[in-house]
Symmetry: C2
Subunit: 337 residues, 2 copies
Amino acid sequence: MNKITIKMLAKELRLSVSTVSKAISDSHEISPQTKLRVNEMATKLNYVPNHFASSLGTGNSKTIGVVIPEVVDSFFAQAINGIEAVAVEKGYHVMIYLTHENFEKEKTILKDFESGRVDGVLLSVSRETTKTAHINELMKKGVPLVFFDRVINEIATTKITTNDYEMAYKATNHLVKKGCQQILFLSFSNLLSISNKRLDGYKNALQDNGIEISDLNILHFKNDPKKDYLLLKNKLKLPNRADGILASVEKFAFTIYQACEALQLSIPTDVQVISFSNLEAASFMNPPLTTIAQPAFEMGKTAATILMKALARKKSEIAEEDIILPSAFVVRKSTRV
Amino acid sequence: MNKITIKMLAKELRLSVSTVSKAISDSHEISPQTKLRVNEMATKLNYVPNHFASSLGTGNSKTIGVVIPEVVDSFFAQAINGIEAVAVEKGYHVMIYLTHENFEKEKTILKDFESGRVDGVLLSVSRETTKTAHINELMKKGVPLVFFDRVINEIATTKITTNDYEMAYKATNHLVKKGCQQILFLSFSNLLSISNKRLDGYKNALQDNGIEISDLNILHFKNDPKKDYLLLKNKLKLPNRADGILASVEKFAFTIYQACEALQLSIPTDVQVISFSNLEAASFMNPPLTTIAQPAFEMGKTAATILMKALARKKSEIAEEDIILPSAFVVRKSTRV
DNA sequence: TTGAAAGCGCTAACAG
DNA sequence: CTGTTAGCGCTTTCAA
């Protein structure tokens, strides 16, 4: 009942190990008959190739590493589906690593990848990531890497993002057109380009509408629900409180709804709300949430496809390229008609 | 700039490979000084151990496989967090595999595990899984396996579940007490014990309340949102339509809300709704959704802990045991006060 | 306490 | 088309 190896198959079939190995990998230099014999014996004896041995030999693992900050988030969960779809189709395995927004964890994970554990990586950096040495090191070792969503611009590789700037601009503009004068921007990081692009979109929209930009209206959330909640609540208590909010991350929407409820502020009458969000629940919220919905599945799929192509070429270099997949602006009832 | 190996460290230090190997794994048979020297050189040269080589040698991979039907689901996403928390702490890596509710995929994945790619597995079966040969095969090869949430009772190992029967009973009873007479049960599988337990809870609650059980009220959803939507909508159009619904899976709640909206049925006035759900959005829905919230994180954590313990013991056998972590019944406004 | 050598299971030249 | 052989990088007896 124990593990059966190529060697055993070979003995059983009175063939050499290499013949069996080649037959199994369907090499052209093996006759159809032997291939058949080998495969029959393999299934008969229930042979399962040892992945580590072949990886050691060939130097590649047929697995890709996906490094993301969090999995309880519709965007990342959907992106995983996209990644997985193309990986599985190409015979690749997927290892998912969570940084929990922690830079040290991200470093540890990428460091481990240097051993060749994965053939390539798909990365969406943590909110704390500013240093890039760990990424450069990995790429220098010949491990191709593609960014998605949360990218580092300084690193020369392909980056899959969505039109963050435009969507933030559009959303902010929408809020202004619907009458907002004091719009809050909820940021999840003051370090990441994605966050700053969204912030810039917000700022420029205000500017173009002749509204003064106030740093007091830019809230840097701490990834700590309780503190963030209090921060926001205090902000909404002020005499001339905000009348619009743009959230840069899905989960912030809950914080907003909660705070408004606590303060008896009506959405959208008192405060209008828009959030970057892929939540399926958005349509069923009270009120239905106006969202910027990112093409999560597509982004994952595209990132994985680019990586697979590089892997197929056996070249670790990946073109420095920005692929921007547009998000959808879905107007619902958390903003006025 | 290329991969550096133990051999290179050895040469550099004028030591043998084995000494270096032992030093790195902190073996007691190596002197403190050499350990120090080795470690210094290792970090200096930026040595990263080759995971495949060590796995080939030792026969274990220090990684666990997590097989789940879906990742865009709060329950599974949260469970992953629980699993990951304990795995990382114990120095294990986590590979996540999605079956997308497809039995064949599940089989392929477990088959691949027979090669020793993972040291142990955490499994939540697909909605189609009735045969168990693939699981038995894997376990026979000495790969320990722990079930969580969607278990197979016939297989002798530890199973982490929640009190599905009681919660379904409680929820159904609640609906009856609040005046429902025609309660729909939305099932995601007629094969899985978890689904049947929930169904039994529903049935027994009806029975205990003297309400006739009708097969017409048990809807077997097909994992196809559109069809499921139409099925439900038709059901809600009937002259003596249902006045209560119990959904056995989070995403069904959306189908319900959507159908009610389309038919202009008010929740909870016309139809009262309860769903098994871990959605954070539940409180913010319109109306807020009464839920049965499973201890997802805890379940993942417990499953992983049990597995880690077995792995530490180097024994692949895991006690046949049922660990039941209670869910919370959270009453909100989708049921009457 | 350190070293030599065999081997984990498979792949990949190179010969035959 | 098939076989021989030498590794891949690390672990692990067994000697020294």
